[in-house]
Amino acid sequence: MSEVTATPAKPAAKPAAPAAHGAAKPVAAAKMTPEMSAIAAKFGGAVEAAQYEGLLVTDHSKFIEIATYVRDVLKYNQLTNNTATDYIKDGVIEVVNQFTRVPQGGAPLTLKLRVPRPSGNDKTQPVPSLCPLYPGAEFQERETYDMYGVVFEGHPDLRRILMWEGFNGWPLRKDWKEAYYEGDTKPFESRWPGGDHKLAEERVPWEDNVNYPPGFDPFAFKPHPDGDIYDSMLAPSDGTVSIDNGHGVAPTLIEGLNASEMAELKTDEIIVNMGPQHPSTHGVLRMVVKLDGEKVTDLKLALGYLHRNHEKIGERNTWLHNIPYTDRLDYITGIYNEWGYVLGVERMMGLKTTDRVEYLRVITGELTRLASHFWAIGFLLNDLGAFFTPALYFITERDLIIDLLEAVTGSRMMCNYMRFGGVSRDFTSAQWAMARELAFERLPRTIDELDHFLTENEILKARSIGTGYMSADRCIAHSLTGPCLRAAGIGYDVRRADPYGYYDRFDFNIPVLYNGDVYDRYLVRVQEMRESLKIIQQALNQAETQSKVGDIQGGKKAYNHRVPAGQCYARVETPKGELGYYLVSDGNQNPYKYHIRSCSYINLNSMKEMAVGQKVADSVVILGSLDIVLGEVDR
C-alpha cells in the first residue's frame, strides 16, 4: 500500500534466503485434457495453455462464449471455485475459475483470465462476470473483488463482502501490507534466534492494529452508511415475489375478497435486521429481510463479521504452519479441514502415506462427520423451536466423540492431527477399544434413538416438509454442495466423485433424496450418519489386519517443506459440503497462494432463493438446514 504514511518498521533481511517470491520463472504449461483440447480447437486464438494448469483465455470478449460452451456442451454444470492470484513479478492478476461436472465429478476444468495489475489501490480493468451463467458465482466473485479489487462486469451486486465498504485497499494483493506486517514470509526475523522479540504493538506507529491513509481526518470522514443495505431493499414491491422458486408467486387471496379489496388490506412492508448477534444465526451472520406481513419478499446477507484473514496469514505461514489454522475454519470438524489441506500439499509434493495413516484419517474424519451432523440436527431443532433439549442430547453424544479425539490428539476441537504424509499420533490400545465401543455399541443406538424420536415427529414434519425447497437444477447452478445438494436428488459426493483416501475400500452408500426441502436435508444427514458408522466399523476392522500399529508417517518426517512449484486444487467432502483448497506454490517454503473454497460460504449463496416467499420464521429454519459454520463462511 504505497500511500500509507506510516508503514511498520522495515524488516531486515530474511534469515534464510529463498528465491524471491513470484519470480517469473519458466513454467511448464498445463497438460491438455480432451476437454481443454476441445475448447482450444473451437476457440483457437482465444485460449492458450495456462501456467501449471488449465486454459488461459486471452481474448476476454470470448470468455462468456467459452463459458457457455463449457456449461452447455462440455456439461461442466457447476462453478466450483472462483478466486484470483496476484503474480506481482509478472504484473498480472490472474482470475481462476474452476468447473465441475455434477454429479459425475472428476478433475475440475480450469479457465483463467489475466488482467494487468493496476497501480496503488486502483481497481483492475473489468473482466466478464460468470453470474448470468452460474448464479453460484455471485458471492465468490464478490469475494475476489473484495480481496483483489478485480471488477466483474455484469455482476448484479458487486460490493465488498467480507470487509466493509470504504476499507482502504485490497488485502490479498501481494503489495498490500497489514498494520502488523513484519515480513513477507515466516519465520520472521524477530522470532529467529538472535532476533529480539518485540510486541506487535511496539513495532507499529499507532500502537495498534490499524493504518490510515495520509490526510485522513476522523472528524470529517463520513462512514459508508450501513443503511445502504436497507436502501437497496427499500424499493416498494407489490407483495409479489420476483423469484419463481415454487413458493406461490401471487399474493394469497383471502376467501370472499376480490383482488382490489385484498390490495386495500395489503400489509406494510417492513425491513427487519437479524444479527450479527442473534441466537438463530449460528454465529455472527447478519441477514436483512424484507417482510410483507410474515412473508419474506427479499433477503440480503451481510457477512464478514468473523473474517479472520486466514488466507493472508496463510500466505505468510510456512506450509506446516497452516495445518492448525485449518482447524479453525469449520471448527466443528477440524480434522476434516486438515485432511483437505494435507491432501493438496501431498499431491503437489508427491508424498506417499501408509495404510495406517489412511485408516486413521478415515476413522477420525468420519467421527467428526458424526459429531458435526449431531450438532447440525440438534441446532436445526433449536431453530424449529425445540429449544435446546434435543441439542442437549446430541451434545452429549458429540462429547463422547470429542473425548476420543482429545485422548488421541490432545485437544478437544483443534486437533492439529494431520501431517504431510502422516498423522501426529496413533491410537493406543485403550483408545482403540474406546473407538470400537463408540462405533459398534453406543453410536448406533443413539442414531436409532434419534431416528425414533424425531423422524416421524409431527411438528418437525409440519414445519420442514416443503420448506426451503430448491430444485436440483437451481442447486447445481448455485454451486450448492453437501447434504443439501443430495437432498435435492443429486448424488454428488466428493468421496465418490473425486476420490481420495481409502474410501474405495469400504462398502457404503451415498444417501440421496428427492424433495429438496428441509425435511429431506435432515433425513439425508441421518442416513449419512449411518453410512459413516458403517465406514468407521469397516475401517476399524480392516485396520487391525491390514495396517501396522505405529506406522504413522509415510516418507521422512520434516518440519520445513519445500513444495515444488505448481498448483493444485484438492477437495474433500466435509459434513457441510465440498471443501477445496486452491494452492499455488512457487517452490518456496510458503504457499504463494492459499485459497479456501468454503462450502458454508458458497451454500449461503442460495439462501435468498430458498427463503423468499416463505414465512420469516422459516428463513431461520432454512438457515439451520444449510448448516453453516461462520468460521468457514468468513474465514
Binding site: 470504504g166 490526510g215 448477534q277 455472527v284 468473523l306 492448525p324 441439542a391 442437549l392 483443534m414
Partner: protein, 210 residues
C-alpha cells in the same frame, strides 16, 4: 449459604418474638454479603457467540458441564436482561462496533469475561488486518481465560473467579449505586478506511496530517 451461620446471638435465642421452632434457623449476615451472594449466583450471561470458543461455551452450558450448577444457566439473547458478556472468540474490526454497542446496552452492574486467546489478545489471528488485538482495547474485562479454545472447565473456573470478585464488592462503594457517577458506556468505534477509535481521534488527525 456463604454467610456465617453458627453464631446466632444469645439474646435472639430466647427472644419471645422468635417462634421456638425457628430458633436454630436464623441467620445473621451483612447486607453486602447477602446482596453479593444473590448476585453472584444468578448471573445471566448474554447469549452471544463469536467464533470457535462459542462452541465450548455451548458445551459448558450443556449437560456434562452444566452451567446451571452455578446459577448461570439463563442465557439471555437481549443485552438488556444480561449481567455478563462472555466474549467467546475472535473480535474482528467489523464486529467491534456491535460488541461495544451490546456492552453499552447491558444494564449495570455488568461484567465481561474474555474467553480464549483471541478475545484476550488476538490469539492465532492477531496479525490479521481485520482482527482487534483483544477485546480490552475497547471494553473493560473482568476475567481473562487463556486457551484456544479454553476447556469448559476453564470457563467454569472463570465463573468462580468472577464470583470471587463479586464477593469483594461492597454496596457502599460500587459505582452504580453512587450518585453522580453514571457510566455512559464506551465510545462506539466506526469503520472508516480502517477501524477508527474515536477516543484517539485527535491523535489520528495529527499523525495523518499531510
Amino acid at each position: 449459604m456463604a454467610t456465617q451461620t453458627t453464631n446466632i446471638p444469645d439474646e435472639l435465642k430466647n427472644d419471645p418474638r422468635v417462634p421456638e421452632d425457628l430458633n436454630n434457623n436464623i441467620f445473621i449476615t451483612t447486607l453486602d454479603k447477602i446482596y453479593n451472594w444473590g448476585r453472584k449466583r444468578s448471573m445471566w450471561p448474554l447469549l452471544f457467540g463469536l467464533a470457535c470458543c462459542a462452541i465450548e461455551m455451548i458445551c459448558t452450558a450443556a449437560s456434562r458441564h452444566d452451567l446451571s450448577r452455578f446459577g448461570w444457566e439463563l442465557m439471555r439473547a437481549s443485552p438488556r436482561q444480561a449481567d455478563l458478556m462472555i466474549v467467546s472468540g475472535t473480535v474482528t474490526k467489523k464486529m467491534i462496533p456491535q460488541i461495544v454497542r451490546l456492552y453499552n446496552q447491558m444494564p449495570e452492574p455488568r461484567y465481561v469475561v474474555a474467553m480464549g486467546s483471541c478475545a484476550t489478545s488476538g490469539g492465532p489471528f492477531k496479525e490479521g488486518y481485520n482482527v482487534v488485538s483483544g477485546i480490552d482495547k475497547f471494553i473493560p474485562v473482568d476475567v481473562y481465560i487463556p486457551g484456544c479454545p479454553p476447556r469448559p472447565e476453564a470457563l467454569l473456573h472463570s465463573f468462580v473467579k468472577l464470583q470471587e470478585k463479586i464477593e469483594k464488592q461492597s454496596i457502599r462503594t460500587v459505582r452504580w449505586y453512587t450518585t453522580g457517577k453514571t457510566d455512559n458506556g464506551m465510545l462506539v468505534p466506526y469503520l472508516g478506511p480502517d477501524l477508527v477509535d474515536l477516543r484517539r481521534a485527535d491523535e489520528i488527525k495529527q499523525k495523518t496530517a499531510l
